[in-house]
Symmetry: C2
Subunit: 398 residues, 2 copies
């Protein structure tokens, strides 16, 4: 298949592009490279030394004989170039990672809120408008987030996108209706993914665009079979307070001899997935595109759920690190339950890699290899969700 990967230079986009190429698809990466600019803005480096994208692509070609194309296009702001490229490539599928993906970054300041909103909404909408304008039958596979469901405890195992609800009609009789699961996003970033859901619903209904929305959990891990082929293919590993997801942050803290920083009680339950499963899920989603007609297909791209404190205990147990509780900068439930269905990917053949595996030990070793690159000042989360949260209580500061 011919596959265009928007945001193919990023943490999930890069290993997904390699994996799709490795299994024989024709891949074109479209990326503005803005994520590298954000590293500069934040004054932080990936723990792993990542090569420039042209070097990555040359290396991949040399090592595997497989060519991945690249076009530097800002999908949110260069509509005409996007249209021309889609018209030229006419992809069977577009995998859409081209959104600002860090919740703390999206809450850092009014400018960061506005950037995230503008970038993410326009990137998604431009893609939909372009595919519609060209009359392409391209299948769009979008990286969404489990966060659209919200992180309040709910009494159901989260379904995959839709919920059948009942309510009385005007005569008092009970009626049933299947609806998009009511969204409760907890940050501007998560909000943009909730908005994406409505954009998809509209374009699927009005223009018959074929769309799969992947509600992904928190990704852990770094390397995949393909990124490990050569050091110049290494994937990025973010450990900073904005882009570092919780488990990767713990691993770096342990490797650098720092305490593991748990924000709040650690009672927050989240869904997780290993990066190797991410790339396999993307492949499965793309290759099953023929089944997508009519309403948007939503799949929960997760393999397990854990409480944050339990994660810290696992890493502490493997490394001997201390655990340190910090003020929670987020406005969120301090404790929540979470369980979710992932039948769709299991049915498509996903064989999950769970946390209790050798991969976690390998991650710890890799973090130790690069521990000299850690800037401890960049680890703490410094984006506050609102005015009240920014007023850290004195007893926490002491």
């Amino acid at each position: 298949m011919r596959i265009m990967v928007l945001g193919g230079d990023g943490f999930c986009g890069w290993p997904s592009s390699l994996h799709l190429s490795a299994v024989g698809h024709e891949v074109v990466i479209v990326d503005s490279l803005v994520r590298r600019e954000i590293d500069d803005e934040l004054g932080v480096l990936s723990l792993t030394p990542i090569a420039e994208l042209p070097t990555r692509l040359t290396t991949w070609l040399e090592r595997t004989g497989r060519r991945i194309g690249f076009e530097q296009v800002d999908v949110a702001n260069e509509y005409d170039r996007l249209v021309a490229l889609l018209d030229d490539v006419r992809p069977d599928a577009v995998v859409h990672f081209a959104e600002q993906r860090a919740a703390p970054y999206s809450m850092k300041s009014p400018a960061h809120k506005r950037y995230t909103m503008n970038n993410n909404v326009n990137a998604t909408h431009n893609l939909l408008a372009a595919v519609t304008q060209l009359g392409l039958d391209t299948h769009i596979v979008h990286l969404g987030t489990m966060g659209v469901y919200g992180y309040e405890s709910v009494p159901v195992d989260l379904p995959e996108g839709y919920l059948t609800v009942s309510y009385p009609d005007r005569n008092g009789d009970v009626r049933h209706r299947e609806i998009l699961y009511p969204t409760q996003p907890g940050s501007i970033y998560h909000l943009t993914k909730s908005l994406d859901q409505l954009l998809f619903q509209f374009y699927a209904a009005n223009d018959d665009v074929r769309i799969t929305d992947l509600h992904q959990g928190i990704v852990w891990g770094t390397q995949t079979a393909e990124t490990a082929v050569d050091p110049l293919l290494i994937n990025r590993f973010d450990y900073d307070g904005d882009y570092g997801t919780v488990l990767n942050r713990f691993l770096v803290e342990a490797a650098a001899g720092l305490p593991l920083t748990v924000h709040g009680t650690g009672g927050q339950t989240r869904a997780f997935i290993n990066i190797n499963d991410t790339v396999r899920c993307v492949q499965l989603a793309v290759e099953s595109g023929d089944e997508v007609r009519g309403r948007v297909r939503v799949m929960n791209q997760i393999t397990e759920t854990h409480q944050v404190a339990a994660l810290a205990d696992i890493v502490a147990g493997l490394t001997g690190a201390q655990v340190s509780q910090l003020w929670n900068p987020r406005r969120e439930a301090e404790v929540n339950d979470l369980s979710a269905r992932n039948d769709r990917f299991l049915d498509l053949g996903l064989d999950p890699i769970l946390l209790q595996s050798n991969l976690l030990v390998a991650e710890i070793e890799m973090a130790r290899d690069y521990a000299h690159r850690v800037d401890p000042a960049k680890v703490p989360a410094e984006s506050y969700w609102n005015r009240d949260r920014a007023a850290v209580p004195e007893e926490v500061l002491e």
Copy 2:
């Protein structure tokens, strides 16, 4: 109260600004004046000859002694100016009309879709981010649309924003939850108002912003007590295929001796409100802002519902005009039921002006007064909802 009216030069914004000023509030209009540029783009004029905004404001001051301020700011694109202005005025309420408001215009082309999406989302988000950044307790009153509920027949009287639904929990026990009524927008314009709902939900929950969202029906009528004070205060009256709402278009067609154009079967049921009730509702919403804390307050700003064919018959009966059925450019249900609650405004004291009133006759007379300004070529709807709709069947063209 000090009230800022974003989009205060428009069809609803202008009479609302005058009305709020007339009843004693201190009003500042913020407007980019883009709506007048769109008249130029479409090559169409308001049926009524509207004065430039500075002339309108001078006239209002001369005739009533009341001063309305004006700042030309593009809310979607000039964030720093918006922040500075809000910081300077520190309004008790902001009435937010600053969005592209025509469904057909929003579907005209990819460029119009993208403009509507970008403009409306960023206008609303900039306002929310600015109020949050400044820590203002300002009450935001937003003009939404009944279209967020969708126009499929549903078995309930549409509630005001929220619906209590039931579903089984993981043990099979029935649980209840109040949710935002599931949205089914039928155009990019309506979609942006659905997105607005989620922006409001988030900022109310995360930053305690006080918000009222008015789900307005289709507005008919032109003049209000205040716009009628002087010919230089006259309100705009759009009859073109993009901005002319259905009843106003019928009135102009009758006045110009043209057949009344019904798109599709005319079985579409819609909710309506007279412009005089619009301005009173805005006043009632603003003045009851103290009750808005916590979740977003949603009020249906409508007074009655009618089928489009029935509206045509009413106008035909009063004027002797013919009725002509045309191809429907919209992808929508050709026939639907619609009934909706409007208890909130009735409770606040609204005494509805219904269609069967002398006001409709006055509107017909006004349309006749200005019939010489009608350009019949601009009346037909020429924005198609999608590729299939643009392929008008041959039997319709004959």
